[in-house]
Symmetry: C2
Subunit: 476 residues, 2 copies
């Protein structure tokens, strides 16, 4: 159903970025048909890989003139379908723009291209005693450009905050091919209206960021990591509540549930978590050495008071990675249980976690679906993992229905439909749960300020019946 691009247009694109960097061969297009949201696949008409701001601007001008939809793409690790191609669209990938342009160690700022891998930035800044804080679970592969588009979070965002807190400046190519510079010079917010903050999280609907300036933090002097083993999820939940209530400020508080522990321990990633445990809690503190042991002691006491069966403490970096392993490898391990995985993402007031988790279990039973929970307990950011087989349309339908119930449940207790994975196509149908028509209309009009024709990543974020009908994905 996907129309090939006119030959003249392909020639124009090739002359801009080089022959090898315009992909039209169906076999090579295959890998671009979806991102981390494996449930949906759409073949793009072509993939273009520019190498500079100038090339991006020229590619956008050419596609804009031809009125062809543009789907920006980083590493394609996104979990809400933000980089899902459109049938009539061309994917513009940032893979070749992977240079760290500048590290200003004294002012703690880095300037990077959007294709720089999240973890590579910290590798580059570590010699200066600095690091980039937001740490998505995919940080060894996901790129800064994608992180900006989705406003990505990670385990340590409990203490350090998500991407938007660290992005201080952007060079952006707009729909017409104009290049604008927003923010800059390490300031937390732009003067006047915060266009940088507006762009972060816009999921490729506003333009393509071709240069990103971020704040860096000094490497923590010390770290303490605990693993609490609990018989029940309820007990683990109580431990989280009392740790936060005690005034402690952990860098991370992560929960791994029974189903996930079993999946991990049955996999090649076995982390030594007891398979009969009801839940495991990974707690980490960092900062200046003084006081870290005291903080860890207080957190351990909270766990034991809540009924922890056992609390382990890492004595070395190797042991620390061991305690984290069960959490970090969870998604990979689930591949053993089912061919497909829908990682849901929602936020609820921390205090409502126990009740919400119980209801999610009930929903799983009712729809006869396996749901495994791995999540950022400290900030109430849930990640129910719905396991299924895409080949089974009936399962697909149940996954969709169960997802919708889970989202409604989170919104009903005062939460929202995404914590850190963005809206993309997967959540677009849920936007009406949290936004009224006036707000949705405002979102549409804000979007048009950046892209009057709506050629940038159509069908993402903002509900659109037309597009849903055409693409046949998203809103239910």
């Amino acid at each position: 159903m996907t129309e090939p691009l006119p030959a003249a247009l392909v020639r124009q694109l090739r002359s801009t970025v080089g022959d090898d960097h315009v992909i039209t061969d169906p076999n090579r297009l295959l890998v671009y048909e979806s991102d981390g949201l494996s449930a949906y696949r759409v073949r793009p008409r072509a993939v273009v890989l520019p190498a500079s701001t100038e090339e991006v601007a020229e590619v956008v001008r050419v596609l804009h003139a031809a009125e062809i939809e543009i789907v920006p793409r980083g590493a394609g690790t996104g979990l809400s379908g933000g980089a899902l191609p459109t049938p009539d669209g061309v994917v513009v990938g940032t893979a070749r723009m992977n240079r760290v342009l500048e590290i200003d160690a004294r002012d703690r700022i880095a300037r990077v291209q959007p294709g720089v891998v999240n973890a590579r930035l910290t590798d580059a800044t570590r010699p200066h005693g600095l690091y980039y804080a937001p740490d998505p679970s995919s940080q060894s592969t996901c790129t800064l450009g994608g992180n900006v588009a989705e406003n990505s979070g990670g385990p340590h965002c409990l203490k350090y905050g998500v991407t938007t807190r660290y992005v201080t400046g952007l060079t952006v190519v707009l729909a017409g091919g104009e290049v604008v510079r927003l923010g800059g010079a390490g300031r937390e917010v732009a003067d006047g209206l915060d266009l940088v903050g507006l762009f972060v999280g816009s999921e490729g609907c506003f333009g393509i960021a071709t240069e990103i300036e971020v704040r860096l933090l000094p490497l923590a002097e010390g770290v303490r990591t605990l693993l609490g083993i609990f018989d029940t999820m309820e007990a683990a939940g109580h431990a989280v509540t009392s740790i936060i209530a005690s005034g402690l400020m952990p860098a991370a508080v992560e929960i791994v549930d029974k189903a996930t522990i079993r999946a991990v321990e049955a996999s090649v990633f076995a982390a030594g978590y007891p398979t009969d445990a009801g839940a495991a809690l990974v707690i980490e503190f960092d900062g200046t050495e003084e006081g870290l042991d005291a903080d860890a002691d207080r957190a351990e006491a909270c766990c034991l008071a809540a009924g922890a069966r056992e609390v382990r403490r890492a004595r070395s970096e190797e042991e620390r990675l061991g305690l984290w392993k069960g959490r970090k490898k969870a998604f990979g391990a689930m591949g053993r249980i089912a061919p497909d995985l829908l990682v849901q993402d929602a936020t609820v007031p921390r205090t409502r976690l126990p009740e919400v988790l119980a209801k999610i279990t009930e929903i799983g039973v009712r729809y006869d679906l396996q749901i495994a929970n791995v999540f950022h307990a400290g900030d109430g950011n849930l990640h129910p993992n719905l396991l299924f087989d895409r080949a089974d349309p009936d399962q697909m339908a149940r996954v969709e229905a169960a997802s919708h119930e889970i989202m409604s449940l989170c919104v009903d207790v005062g939460g929202t439909i995404t914590g850190e994975h963005g809206v993309g196509v997967d959540k677009r149908g849920y936007m009406t749960l949290v936004h009224n028509e006036v707000e949705l209309d405002m979102l549409r009009r804000v979007r048009r300020v950046f892209d009057a024709e709506g050629l940038f990543n159509p069908g993402k974020v903002i509900p659109d019946e037309e597009i849903d009908a055409v693409a046949g994905v998203g809103a239910s």
Copy 2:
């Protein structure tokens, strides 16, 4: 020159908010002619003081229907003229909307009306062991609504960040009188596009926030406060650089210069700073008790290594307030030196501070103006205080010219034209220093998304030759 409002319209407004809450008497209007930016005064046609979201919505509907400009106003402590009336406009004040609506101690969220005084919120949450972090110097009088409009900062924003980091939800009355709810439920950013972050800092140009949801922080377990006395500003600057470079994370690092020390010590606020000192540095650490003394010791060592003549350390809360006094009372004390004061606000990369301060001194000499510096050194947020007499038009002209040079200087070294005071009318003329036409056009169009006719606070933030010509203020 100010036209009185039609009697019928006044009646309509009175029937909405009550007779006493529509002010048209010129004597009572006097206090609304300016905000903290005393250099400009404009008499509004009237001041309306609604008491609820519904009353604000009705007032806005009435004024919008009559095509009358609306200037939102909090406590009027703003320093960039964001609440300066327009000759044809009506001021809508939030003074009567001063209730703390809800404190959710477990989820650490507070819901307040816009007229709640910043410091009162912390008074209300302290019993729960919580506080509201952003602390403008005016916190005992400024309101949360004004803080949201200007995205206000304060001394402790070095560690804790400015207002936008704490606002999680807003109820906003738009130009047509529609009421929209943005964000909410304590989430750091709105799902999809961050309309909350966009509204924070919009200086009353987008609408009026009638309910504000903010994140609270647990009260710090302990605090350590140091006062470093230096012979020269250069030495104090070096101390700041080495403290930050050492990886320490102070809650505040404030510099008070020679001129300010002398003004304070000559005033009723005398704080016991040596009057022959070249600069004083207030350094504060907070957090869990463990480690605080070690942090303070390291900071003291940095000061002494940089040539501090003396480093004092507070041993009690009373002593702590004493060390802060010279900083907190600086603005008040300057009233002794000159009748008028223009507090400038700009941010530069921390490492460029010494060079920028030297050039500011040179500018003061060249324009024969007294300039006193009190500022947030830790994050490179400068506050040159230009002292003058409004009655002297020649001085006014020199203040304007000197301000423009200072702004250009900060931008030239990679800084920006505002750190925490907003753009208002005072900085509007400088927006072209940091934004090109494409960006300014984007700002104008984003503004129109919220307020198509531009009736909300016209002439603020975004450069506008027409308005400048009429109002005769701002852009030079």
